[in-house]
Amino acid sequence: MSHDHHSVVVPAPGPEFVPHEVAHHFNTPVQEFQSGKLGFWLFLATEILLFGGLFAAYFYYHEMYPETFVQGGKQLDWKLGALNTSVLLLSSWTMAMGVRSAQTSQKKKTLMFLGLTVLGAAIFMVIKYIEYSAKNEHGLIEFAHLFDGYNEATGQLSWFTDHDGVMAGVPHGHMFFAIYLTMTAIHGLHVVIGAGLIIWVMFGTAKGRFHAGYFMPVDLVGLYWHLVDLIWIFLFPLLYLVP
Amino acid sequence: MINFLTQEPQNPQEPPPWDGVAPPEIDTWGQLPKLASDFHDVDGLFYFTYAVCIFFFVLIVGVLAYSMVAHRRKTWDQPALSNFTHNTPLEVIWTVIPLIIVMIMFAWGFKGSLDMTTTPQAAKTNTYKATAKQWNWTFTYPNHPTPSFGEVYVVADKPVQFYLESTDVLHAFYVPQMRVKRDVIPGRFQSVWFTPHFTREHTGDGPRIETMHLFCAEYCGQDHSRMYAKVHVVEQDYFDTAPWDQWPADDAPLEDLVKAGEGLYKQQCISCHSVDGSPGTGPSWKGLFTKDANGEYVGRQREVLVGGAPQTITVDDAYITESIYDPEAKKVAEEPYVRNAMSVFKPDTIDERRVKGLIAFMKSLAD
């Protein structure tokens, strides 16, 4: 039996673009787009549940040691946090504009907006670095000793020296910073991954692969970026604004 | 790198901790050990559910077996006898009846559990403490200062409560004949209560003692299966003689002290220290002492770390006593002992008399 292999092709809207060949098992480009979108939303659901576990841990220990979380939150600079929030919100807007530009086959504008989004991600990570450095300096998260373990005899945790004594008087002061580090680092990892995905899409855009007839990857990466933003919107008040 | 299925560490070579404990009698229907507490609802609900299960099992298997024979496909083109895909009365019955049955089971079980988790006042005034650690049990009594190791005495027909604490990982306190089980969680206090009863006729002349199994029922590492204790149900009079606190008096003959020391060794020390030289979590006690020409015990020399710096010391009573109460003070400077941590024993768990007994036992191993 022959492979009745007629591929559906979406023509390019202009000379700077290339046509898109629909994958062989789909009948129409719409079917391909809807499948990709449904699949991606399901993937985003798994990300939400992954972070959900972290939020559950946060709420549990906030309930158990409220003073620790209030005191810990005071050690964070809410202004830097707010700045990061604005940066991400703005980058979500530039991302949405990038998707719109791809949808309307505007190659240059797509590249510009995507580039601005990556810039936003970079600024976010720089501010994050500044925050982490501050924690490091105050002995609240000493990164050099992060993996050096817990001394059972002395009760000393290698990375939490708190030499300024800001967490004295609250139970298990390290707990806030451990959870803060875990949640923001995993979120930061997703920011970096998102930026990487956007750069990948920028390459594809430069080659003319994305246009009104086929912009699914831009759309889906955009969704990913919005999720990364959304998670931060929840992280920020819980960690920074509690006091 | 490939160190799976190695032979280290060795298992204790001695008879198991349950050696000599008679197995419990089994109840009439054969599935449960004879009940020794008042939690009859457990047995009642267990057998009720069992009966229901057997009923449905017989029903299902019966219908299938009949169908396998009567409705067998005999020729390749034989169609089904009937193509029915619904039968509303049947569907309603087989939904509603099981629903009613399971709701009965739920309610009965819930009531029974409330009973088991609500400690009556009588038990609260008779509170013991059970301390679980890898891999043994220590029991503290309400009105007696000396704890017992690996066994506990309770008075028949008197409600008792146990506070449960763990000094390291998860364990569980499980006495099958009492039908009680509760996880022992480090960092938390839990409690469990029951009223122990005798289940056997009293035979013989001695005091009436019925010994039951206590198992650890939450996996806790290497010797989880050896973390056993004996529950002795006794009469009040016998209990009042504090049978667990029968440490030889100071003027007792030496062999009694050695024997008592050996008994304590088997309860508290054997999981980490061998006596025949084989390696364990802790160093072997073989060769600690030797006998000189006059038959006097002389301690050998060994390398230890004092504050991290190596030092050669001579084994003596003071060193052994210090190592029990403060194991980090002088650690044996050998792998893997230098990396392992010994549990700290406090004087209220192992008092000076008991330390002397352990030392006497160690000396009795001298070559």
């Binding site: - | 032979q7 569980a172 029922a217």
Partner: protein, 551 residues
Amino acid sequence: MTTQTPVIDAPTTPQAPREDYLNCSKGFMSWAGTLDHKRIGLMYLVGVGIAFLCGGLFALLVRLHLWEPEGMLFSNVDYNKIFTLHGAFMVFLFVIPAIPGSIGNMVLPLMVGAKDVALPRLNLLSFYLWLSGAVLATLAIIMGGFDTGWTFYAPYSIYTDQAVVTIGLAIFILGFSSIFTGLNFIVTVHKLRAPGMTWFRLPLFVWALYATSILQVLATPVLGITVLLVAFERLYNIGIFDPRLGGDPVLFEHFFWFYSHPAVYIMVLPAFGIVSELVSVHSRKPLFGYKLIAFSSLAIAIISFLVWGHHMFTSGQSTYAMFAFSFLTFFVAIPTAIKEFSWVATVWKGSVALNSPMLYTLAFLVIFAIGGLTGVILGALNVDLHLHDTYFVVAHFHYVMMGSIALAFFAGLHHWWPKMFGKMYNEALAKVACLIIFVGFNLTFLPQFIMGSRGMPRRYASYVPEYAPYHQASTIGALILGAGVALMVFYLVSSLFTGKKAKENQWGGVTLDWHTATPPVHLNFDEEPKVIHEVYDYSTLDMESLQRDAT
């Protein structure tokens, strides 16, 4: 249900090999880089098959060691490692991925009338993630193994000086393999159904895989974050599960079981799907209560998220928690019971063919009755306080996981084997193996109920001597079971080399998978099927071609 596509009428001469998905391309890369769901399904089959045999080997070692009360073969530490490996391998490398990955991949697109799954590259990625997880798990063994039990309870899993981070990473990766498979199946069922294939014309295996996929997507991430948190605890002492640092070990249990209870339904729902298909085909009768069975799968999926606490009744829960978890546990028994009764009603007054797939299916129905009913016994709060962490629980879950799920997997293998390979195995040997497996299985696990209710705790390297007769009976049963499985592997594998050519429609099935060539061509269907009949409508069976096949 039939299609307007003619049944493949094989115009070629009997000797000329037709082009099918197995021979249409050759070479290592045509398999390693394949996007064909059928080839991916076969690769999964080989992988999970090997994992199953490894897990079974560990099980035999466990049972042999327990022949004697003091333990016959290993030191305590080594025994603890072996039972842990048995659990970890079986759960994460076999029971969770096997049916969706192998049979599901092979059959789901065929059943909905599609050319492939919706996201073929993701499908291949799922397989490589499984393989990576398997490699890491093997690495963990080489690094010395781990003895925490497959449940990795804290704080022991945090303190113990073993390869916990490695196996944790393996499980994280395996989790994503599972998530992506589920994701793929959901999109396939939503978007790639052939014209006329409405939701209520879908075969019940598809419904079962759909419900499973929802669980895979929603529950598995929680396992992912849990193993990650344990790894972080070990790496930099967060403290959330470590009581020395203010953490709560019971929080770990909540996190773990929030996934692992739905996980058992991820394991069993596909098995239910296979049973639904097989009782219909081999009774040549439509499923009794199709919609009930379909909806009960969804109901089970949803309720399964609400009962995780029944694994923790002895941890000192509040009265409210105990009430809710016990109540819902009994509740989830009802849709399961409805399924069991519906299957029995499907067989009743059918045209019951006692071939090997059906024998495995009937064995399932008997064994699952016991497994499910003993779960009800464990749902009662006060009874559970006595039975928790004893061999009664071990027997219960082996009745469901081994006796039911594995047996359904075997049944499905036997049923779709001719379709997948175009070859038939030795039917007489298959019947013998089924009997040996049935006897061996029951002899292994029935005594465990008895000693469990009599107090024998689980995860014990040595035990009180009064349980010895039960342990010994169980060990003999395990050896018999092992022999049966070995026989099964033997005749299945040899059928690939010396088996008779299978019939085009070996069993007289009417779902779309039986409307493909045997074995199917690369793109499954020559023309897109158009569905005009209801599912399980055996009046559409092409009796002439069946007769041709029979002679």
